[in-house]
């Protein structure tokens, strides 16, 4: 068995080399065993095991991801993740309580959450990257705390008051902050996409959404009108079946949106982000087809539904394989030269809080 890929052997100055394709060798049937045991143990331990389950899941995906003959690894400690989850759960409960209560306390809690969130998100980046390694060298995130407040809080506020006209700008700043401050050992990454490129993709998204709304409106309007007519005729007594139908149309439209425009947008943004990221002098190429991603997302969705969730492990593996294998590294020189930095100690509170509040930081 050849342990070192051929493009890897002795360095020759810094001449460009053959692209290194990312490979993912995970397998749905194999992952099923890990997934179902994770699920069972998490239920039996009332959720405590879920921290260990998360580590196993991430290790399964990281270790099956291979670049230039070596796989990635995840080093997060289950204990830290568990503490992070407990704190995140407390925050989530406080948040849900306050939102339902609508008391003056709500504003206080919302302000507190808004104030700690940038710090938590920054820590979430730090935790995830620090616990990722390739060839024994860890990644690092070194974004400043002050900058995180500018990126999340100030830009978030600007986005809100401009009715999301600034959203693509905010997205670009976020990615520049996230990728520009990432390091592999002592090698810094850089981000090169301008806000204009984000605006272009967002305009496409807007056009697709308008077209989608038009089609759904045209097909759903009959049902909606029928419901209204019925409500009218029966003196305000809405027919439950009609209301259910109207709801079904609404949810149907949302799901359709989630498996069509959603993945297409995801593919375009992911391509832009990775094509604009460099690790030192090494470039990255990401070539994800929006149509292929739509097909995978839609078919995964249907199969998960038909199997009452049992297809989930296959769906996850399939999606990961497609996304990871659309990435290539274009080495500018030797890939043996990355040097590790000093070890750090980072808690998992940020990552768990970010995922509890459902911030998608993967885009």
């Amino acid at each position: 068995m050849n342990s070192v890929s051929e493009s890897e052997s002795p360095a020759q100055g810094s001449s460009p080399r053959a692209p290194e394709q990312v490979h993912f060798s995970g397998n749905g049937a194999e992952y099923f065993g890990i997934w179902i045991v994770n699920l069972l143990l998490s239920i039996v331990t009332l959720g405590i095991y879920s921290a260990w389950a998360k580590v196993r899941r991430l290790q399964y995906f990281y270790r099956h991801t291979e670049l230039a003959g070596s796989s990635f690894d995840f080093h997060g400690s289950p204990g830290k993740i568990l503490i992070g989850r407990v704190i995140a759960l407390a925050m989530l409960i406080a948040y849900n309580f306050s939102v339902r209560l609508h008391s003056p306390l709500t504003i206080v809690i919302l302000v507190v959450i808004a104030l700690v969130m940038p710090w938590l998100l920054r820590n979430s980046f730090r935790f995830r990257l620090y616990n990722t390694s390739w060839r024994g060298t860890r990644f690092h995130f070194r974004g400043a705390v002050g900058a995180s407040y500018r990126v999340f809080l100030l830009n978030g506020f600007l986005t809100l008051i401009t009715f999301y006209v600034m959203a693509p700008f905010m997205h670009q700043r976020l990615k520049a902050y996230q990728h520009g401050n990432s390091w592999l050992g002592r090698t810094q990454c850089s981000f090169h996409a301008g806000a204009g490129q984000f605006y272009l993709i967002y305009l496409l998204l807007l056009a697709a959404a308008v077209a989608f709304a038009f089609v759904i409106g045209a097909s759903g309007i009959g049902g909606a009108l029928a419901t209204f007519a019925q409500v009218h005729k029966e003196g305000g007594h809405a027919n439950p079946a009609a209301v259910f139908r109207a709801l079904a149309i609404l949810y149907g439209a949302l799901i359709l949106l989630g498996i069509s425009i959603g993945p297409a947008f995801h593919a375009l943004i992911t391509n832009l982000v990775w094509n604009s990221t460099r690790v030192g002098e090494h470039r990255i190429e990401c070539n994800m087809s929006p149509f292929a991603l739509i097909w995978i997302t839609a078919s995964n969705f249907v199969l998960v539904l038909l199997t009452l969730g049992l297809f989930i492990p296959w769906a996850m593996v399939r999606l990961a394989k497609f996304q990871l294998e659309s990435v290539r590294l274009l080495p500018a020189g030797d890939l043996q030269e990355f040097v590790a930095a000093e070890p750090e100690s980072i808690g998992a509170v940020g990552e768990e809080a970010a995922s509890a509040f459902d911030f998608d930081i993967s885009l």
Binding site: V37, I43, R56, Q336
Partner: protein
Amino acid sequence: MLQANYFDGRSTRVRVVNLSVAGEDLIIAGEDVNFRIPFVDVTVDERLGRAPRRLRLKDGTFCEVRDLEALDTLLSLTAHRDGWVDRMQRHVQFVLFSIFACALLAIAAYQWGLPWAAAKGAQVLPPAMGRTLSMRTLKVLDGSILLPSKIGEERRRTLSARFHALRLPEGGTPRSELLFRSSPQLGANAFTLPDGTIVALDDLLAVIGDDRQILAVLAHELGHAHGRHSLQLLLRSSAVGAFWALYVGDISSLLAAAPAAIVEASYSQDLERQADDYGAALLRHNGMSPALLADALEKLAAAHAEASKGGGYLSSHPATDARMRRLRHQAASFGDE
């Protein structure tokens, strides 16, 4: 002999090495690497599918092994044993057992665990929260589907007086507020807010007519107030929503919101029965027959049939026939009718 990649943890440099076992020791040999270390100081990564496994040394260096079969042969020469989770994950029977166990646990949690936890939770929540929720709900309803009651002042006062004179089975008189409203949308209906406030609608009074039967319906609503049922429903639907978000969230967070709403409606049957039982006990405690509630339900069923498939009291109070039979049975064993 087993080939592996050795990494020093300080750079991404790959060194090809050969691994072998001699006695209690692991030997790592290759280009500018030559170690002999006791195997007890080596941590072996657990198996995760066909992923490469690492043999980690205490100084942060490690060997990445791809030939998993050869590694198993090597490990068999040492004291290394696979972890129990690792063995479970690869054991076909255990994986199959896990599927059924998960399904059974999910059903049990939904059937018994969730109602139990919601009932406990509803008792623990501070009364101030119920109060705030109710005020908010009432404000929203008053601004949309509820109109001021058109029932005469005197009738309302009489009903209120009789309602507040009821003696509760657990002692005392109702602390719930009784409000009168009318609503063309909700029809003949009465409902209880999270803090126990009961709202009776004009159509309900008109359809039932008889004060004692109206009191029976209010006794039923007091059962909802006593069990804090609306808070329980809130907790149940929140929990179901949270679970779906976690379970399905990986694939599509869009599906997550749907089931909570659907579940909530089908869930209320056991709570209705509890409220009926409480209402029946309350009626008996006040020297009245539980059959009064059954009579009221019958009138509502007739009115409901007339108003065709409209909403009204019974759409939120399912299986009326069964409930009437139950109440009449209780009345018969009570010795009246």
